[in-house]
Symmetry: C2
Amino acid sequence: MYRIGQLAKLLNVSESKLRFLEQQGVIHSVRQANGYRYYNEDNKQRLEIILKAQHMGFSLAEIRAVQRQHGSKEHPVDCQLLLPMLQQKLQELDQQMQQLQQQRRDMEQLVQQLTPAAP
Amino acid sequence: MYRIGQLAKLLNVSESKLRFLEQQGVIHSVRQANGYRYYNEDNKQRLEIILKAQHMGFSLAEIRAVQRQHGSKEHPVDCQLLLPMLQQKLQELDQQMQQLQQQRRDMEQLVQQLTPAAP
DNA sequence: GTAAAGCTTCAACCCTAGTTGAGAGTCAAG
DNA sequence: CTTGACTCTCAACTAGGGTTGAAGCTTTAC
């Protein structure tokens, strides 16, 4: 059981962010009599998944949507639900990349055209 | 010379966005006696570049920075200044993609481990 | 000449993802 | 006990990227 400060330090996020994410319903903690948030391994793992998802470009809304889709039915991690989203995201990224590459080629060509001869 | 409504329709953005972008100093228009904004080819091209840049993930702040760096000295398009930024962005994207691919591999493995046998 | 369509400004508002600060309770150490 | 580190809640604030609405010109069409 971590307390907020410990977990925050451990995962290198702010305490306020942890409170915010909980208030937004994407992570949870265990409250004890003193009112403090305590985080067990499960809470921690879920948080780590959320952070990764965020890092991959998922919004909290998207994350919430996934979580709602399986009301924490069983607990075989979110992977089964994350995977489809991940794959979609990857496809999107692939597309974006291709567009970017094309645009870059175009721009490089343009630059060359506009640069008659180096000084 | 386009007026705001025409240009907006042509490039499929809102008029309010054009006003906003001008107010933010990243695009320009020509004002005439009636106070209307008119856009010449140059204005239009710059706008198109801005929109592309935005689409590629550049923030208005980044775009502004590039624009300041060359006070519109000459006009060989922004390409020469956009290119370095583009290349940096592409590198970042490449890195992100690699991380993603790795994470995806990890997750797929995890899923397989957690799925003893199909139903 | 009058209505509709198009344009202007300006201030206020929206959302996302947090951060900050005040006022107050909790806990461990001395 | 008191001090200091840690935590709580709640409300207000931030920044980025716009959108919305009111009040008032201008231009076009009939």
